[in-house]
Amino acid sequence: MTGPKVIVFTCNWNAYNGLETAGAQHSRYSPSVYPLKVMCLGQISPGIILKAFENGADGVLLLGCPLDECHFEFGNRRAEEVFQEARKLANLLGYRNEQLQLDWLAAGDGQGFVEKIEHFLAGLYEGQRQP
């Protein structure tokens, strides 16, 4: 295992499609990144996010649809609310902002998927260096 353990929640319609494209393009990213597909990012709860941290994740990245492109119309707005709530709780529990991030990804953007993962991992490494 190399690097910090990261759980990436991807929505089925855009972000996961980006991940599949990255796979089809044979792009590389850290093997310690575990993508988990959910039908819509709006269906996850702060409880699930905390559960990932409880089970040993160093970081959790939420990848949803771009604004106004949610397959279920309001899913990414709901995801934003959940993210804000989860971030406050994670902060209280001693986690840094870099360890929980929300981002979006367009369908078919394989390169974007890899870049976002690398950017997130860079943030985690940066945070680890700080006292």
Binding site: G47, K51, F53, L89, N91, L92, G94
Partner: protein
Amino acid sequence: MKPVLEFVDTHKLWYCLDCGKCGAACPISRHETRTFTSPRTLIEKAVHCGMDEVMDEPLFWSCLTCYRCSQVCPSDVHFSEFMRSARSLARGHDRSGDCTHGGMIQTWGRMMTNPDMRQNRLSWVTSDLKFSEDSDTLYFVGCMPYYDPLFRKLGVEGVEIAQAAVRILNHLGIKPQILADERCCGHDQLWEGDLDTFRALAGLNITQLKASGAKRIVTTCPECARTLKMDYPEYVGDHGLEVIHLAQLLADAGLDLPPQADDGLVTYQDPCRLGRHLGVYDAPRQVLFDIGLELVEMPHHAATSLCCGTSCWSACGQVSKSIQVERLEEARATGAETLVTACIKCQIHFKCAQNDPLLGERVGIKIQDLTTLVAGRLFGDTKRNPKQEVPVVSR
């Protein structure tokens, strides 16, 4: 693993006379319309049928452990304690209650068992609050900072209660200690049968409490008070500190504030943990009298008080809602302007029920914690806008 019959013995279930008083008093039995369930039925199954039958009883995970049945029981059967023990047994059968809020409250409880965890829980501390590391009094904050972001949208007072408590203590000449890495007291874990988590949390808290050098713990949460006072010594170890709820301290302090012209009547919700569990009925009422408010009692009050409908963040549903609505209607019928409670969970559950647009004015009554009410009387209305959030900063 202990067989269920051992707990039947320990908690005196053999003494059940089958009189049915518990079923008439139990809030769950009265509101559970889908099936019949009562403490008596469950006891019968525990005595005659064994653990499998007991675990399938609807009351098994929904019992509020509110002591209402114990209060009417002529045989002194310890039903709530039996539920606590039987639930720990059920964990061995891979059973657990239905956790509400996506299980997050149970999750952060388990996360706090990590001894290396460094929390960031003091962002509610403002510069006007005075603390002292050598104080004899330690203020045990409880999960207030965590409930704050979670239930702010319901208009629940979260950290205001903690801020008000310290302000009041300062006013009484006490600069309390607080713990930067206080853990959840473990109340919910204990009553849900998760003894491993409870023992781990209690162990970490006891170490910190002993190291603090304090002699007295003050809480604003009845569940923390009960757990620290009664359950830590029984299950884990004695911390040797006196434990009181802030209402008791305030009653002893004897505040003497005059009534104000625009005061409305208030009514008081006895939290089960403070009332029936710890027997503290008079202190909060004395405090309300001392700050110049007129109290009007609901038909069910003190020992016969009704629970707020949910316990341990599990098994919340239609039955809980029915209990909450019954209680809020009762409070409203008194003509009181404010329903005062001394437990943040009562406030969360009642405000959640009030959030139902279909219920509307039927359940409309202002709900406030005793602590912020007293602070408001002492220092003027210092309450923040309920929608305004406390910034939580990342480390």
